[in-house]
Symmetry: D2
Subunit: 346 residues, 4 copies
């Protein structure tokens, strides 16, 4: 049984790690930290875990954490980088769910996150945690920076087109929508039910922090710089990200069926990417609670714009499930362990 620690367990991604790991056959959570809630039982904050989790939150301590086989950071950005050097020094393996180690260009990171990075040298050695792209590197990594929610849905959707150089990389568009759990468990007026329910809006149009992460990943895949227009929207739902992706085909003779085949082959061996049959479209409810990314390929009206629809559960494949998938790879466990439950629908 693998022993796991969680730093920052009071947010939604921490709770989701606990939910998923409760059903993991080969891993158990032995330690969960929160400065604010130290001493409080986990199941008093999250009653869903009554009878499943007997832990109390404790203040973070590097020594205690280093005793674990693997440590997750489920913290806001800026926290993991403070504690990371000490854990890395002690040879602890880490999966960071935050944004601290995702972006290789430190200047870009500092511009978008508005603060100095305190351990740029660890950024260089961190592996970007998107198994469909980096499975081999994840296996041997000490520090994995699990991919973000929008970046996962959008990259998995665009990758086959870019890797195969089928579309113009200079005019990509990602119109995406997220459930509100993506905004975390913070007390903000903007995220009240009375503000968001029966409502829909775009946000962060001028620039969202996931843009550089996505452009970095897509540029790596395309082996050239890509330009993406990324507009996130906020849905009155709890979980789910849906991305509608637009790209201009630049190659002749690639019809919808050919694109479909291409996608099916590209993800043929992936346990968590499901290319839907032609004519079917993903719904966020069809991935709810699961680690799946469901993708549909369309070429409307046989015109030269390809439209890809991609759906994930932002808390699972977009966060905690992805982190567990990375752990499974890092520790040589079955990659799908703890991640096999069927989406909850209806």
């Amino acid at each position: 049984m693998v022993s796991v620690g969680i730093v920052g367990g009071t947010g939604y991604t921490g709770a989701e790690l606990l939910r998923l790991l409760a059903g993991h056959p080969d891993a158990q959570v032995d330690l969960i930290t929160s400065r604010a809630e130290a001493g409080i039982r986990v199941d008093s904050l999250y009653p869903t875990l009554r009878g499943v989790c007997d832990l109390s939150f404790e203040a973070p301590d590097a020594g205690r954490l280093a005793e674990c086989d693997l440590v997750y950071f489920a913290t806001p950005h800026g926290v993991a980088m403070e504690l990371m050097p000490e854990l890395i020094k002690r040879s602890t393996r880490v999966v960071d769910l935050s944004a601290d180690f995702r972006i290789q260009d430190i200047d870009v990171w500092e511009t978008w996150y508005g603060q100095a990075h305190t351990c740029p040298e660890l950024v260089a050695q961190a592996v970007y945690g998107l198994p469909e792209v980096n499975r081999q590197s994840i296996r041997d990594a000490q520090l994995v920076a699990a991919a973000g929610c929008y970046p996962t849905a959008i990259q998995l959707g665009f990758l086959p087109l870019l890797v195969n150089d089928l579309v113009d990389p200079g005019s990509l568009i990602a119109n995406a929508a997220s459930g509100v759990s993506g905004a975390g468990r913070q007390a903000k007026v903007d995220n009240l039910l009375a503000e968001l329910s029966d409502n829909f809006k775009a946000y962060g149009v001028a620039g969202h922090r996931h843009l550089p992460e996505i452009e970095q990943g897509l540029s790596n895949a395309a082996k050239q710089a890509v330009a993406l227009t990324f507009v996130p929207h906020l849905l009155p739902v709890i979980r789910g990200i849906h991305a509608t992706l637009y790209a201009q085909i630049k190659v002749e003779g690639v019809d919808e069926k050919a694109l479909q085949s291409l996608y099916e082959q590209f993800y043929d061996d992936e346990p968590f990417v499901d290319i839907l049959p032609l004519g079917h479209l993903p719904q966020t409810r069809n991935v709810k609670g699961s680690n799946l990314c469901r993708i549909a390929v369309t070429r409307p009206q046989q015109r030269n714009v390809v439209v890809i629809c991609s759906a994930i559960d932002n808390l699972v494949k977009g966060a905690s499930g992805q982190a567990i998938q990375c752990m499974n790879i890092m520790l040589g466990l079955n990659e799908t362990a703890g991640l096999e439950s069927v989406p909850l629908c209806p």
Copy 2:
């Protein structure tokens, strides 16, 4: 044109006063206060009011307020009683939407609200603002304490039974559910969409502050002490209160049809109480945005428990609409002025 001021205009009841008064033929808002937002345009906080409201929030000032024909308090409890003596001294007429002046027994108020009352003498002269009960007193009142949201739905539902002495006053039950706007526009984790959507729960079972207000009103109507078990619940909806009321009939020979007639006659002249035909039940959406209280009378299985269903929009008949109705009565305007719009459905 009547000139109106609003103290504490940043919450939902303040915004709702502005929405409703924008359509009032005989009243206009000339002044709206907020310490926190002083200097900020109202329509930058509430974009729905763009083009309709040209005011900016200003810090409260008794002199400025006293120039208005009537002042509304749309503040949390404990605020109105601080400013009230000065306004009353200046002969300003006031409708208070908060709980400060609703409960005549100061000890009871202080117990439930956990603070000392600073002007008990004004409580004595305040008139409880439920027009269906107190229309005459409201007309001449200087200070009206508008009835609360749950208390409105529940009292209007029980009144005909108690006034006519048909039911046991010692075992009343009010099972009520409210939309989350009733909790106000405060940043609280508990009221996030991610916490409340696709969810339902009871709260405050041990004791809710509206209990003494309701028992006071029902006891006055029954001319004897009543005992009410009141359990509020939180709905994943924005607006609406639905109360399901249970009482034991203590009189022979009052069948469902007789009860229906009784209710229809009791509210025959009321512009905002609609007794639904037998066999129909109210829905919160059928009062959304309107000042109506819709009520259904049933006697399931012809047993001895009467079940009354009563629905209002908590922000209108349960707050701002009721306050405007009181104002209309106080100032001799048409009682329905500004309150005639049809519910928004679907």
Copy 3:
């Protein structure tokens, strides 16, 4: 590996059986029937099951069904009783999720369901499938009539009070609210999102079919006739039933703590009933997707009305999970097998 068949697999309870059984370590679905969808792949109707269920619907055939170790009926009422005699003759064991065999008094059943019962003799031998009451009889039953959704939440809530003769059985009140999946997957205007979302209403106040089922169960427990006023409401949520139960205490000296102890002891050995600590209340989201019933005991204001709050997921403990729990008992499997996943929250 136990072989299972499902009759009527196109509704929500059928889909939920498939979801839960996909994770069952000791049972697998080998057969699923639907006249209307015969020949159609299950995962084309329920895309959540892509990669998990390789079956197609087939027309019901008693011979094929009888080859299974156990057959579930997930059909509307009136269907199971047609096919049941043939299956019973062939010694097939059956769990019926519909209402056909729940009510022992045939006259009562025929009155409430508006049709003749075609095999009253099988009603007599059917065991009511509420394991917390009938575990021993379920073990040996050939035909189990799984308890309904409202009846489960309400009976589990009232049982300790009635079995211990603490409350007046003549004035019980159950105010309950259900998510809309309880109405099934039928095309009805009343159940459209545009009709139900941002809305709340009571329904069936004059008489709901679950009333006789609940009164039968409670009377058995109380060993005397009980009278229940039962008012169901419709929530704008997908899953979840919350029941708020009221009873008049008739015994002196039973304070809230004593009641709490009583409930904890009563359900001490039950794997799926969780008595919350004093001061905590259940929420439907805290049981979502799980087979749990979470219950809170309160005695507001120390008055003589006990208020019990009880929450289940109507599709799990209220239907398919309960049916699997019954199967586990009948077939000597681990009672919690396939039912151990943590509620999905948020």
Copy 4:
């Protein structure tokens, strides 16, 4: 007082006409038809209209309808064209809310709607009912084909760019999302709350009937053929359309501020188009229940893609409100009469 008739009053747009016209100072509904509901009181189908509408549905009769000053068709496509010739012959003025007369190219209409058009000659004389484009023609028209919901939000968003020839007309993208009332009040499993709530999906990606309508309008504005990729999505909300529009700027030196000025000037005199200040984005709740279209102009990252966000209430500016606005213009009434209420928010 203008006398108005409504054909097909049982759907959501019919009900919305009744709601809005109830508050219209100069018009009243004298006649409302429905074959299916003939003889039934309107307020028994729509209890929100209790006390406001005293009519019963009647079977459609051309003679009766022709007595009205103006007739609305709030029918599914294919119905208006059957009755229209007779009304036009009788000189009745008509606003058709359906799609029958919106598309000038009969072949295109027949291809997309899958049936023959029975009165192509009336299509030629019909005026497209988007007042911001066709106000003068509407004034004198006998038959106005009110613009559809998506087409209104999308055209109002793109028009300033195309009329001023600032963007590439060959690569427009409209990513739009609609509340479910847009699908009408039909009993369909796909539109159940249990299917749509807590969910999001694209639909009609291969081709939606509003595409040719939008391309026709945009091509007229651009004075050249435009090519639009249009992907609609379904929101778990009742009302509201939000369109996120993407276009490639083809002119140098037009920064975000210049675009903002352009939009403000373009719509300066329009009573129902509100260009939000730079930095603000529309939300569907900020137009709920109102006839407003709120638009934001952005140029993210100062790159060459302009992003326009446009929000309307699909039942008001996208249907019944627009139809009333057209009527007001046709009959020389105040253009904003009956359409001045403030959005219902929260």
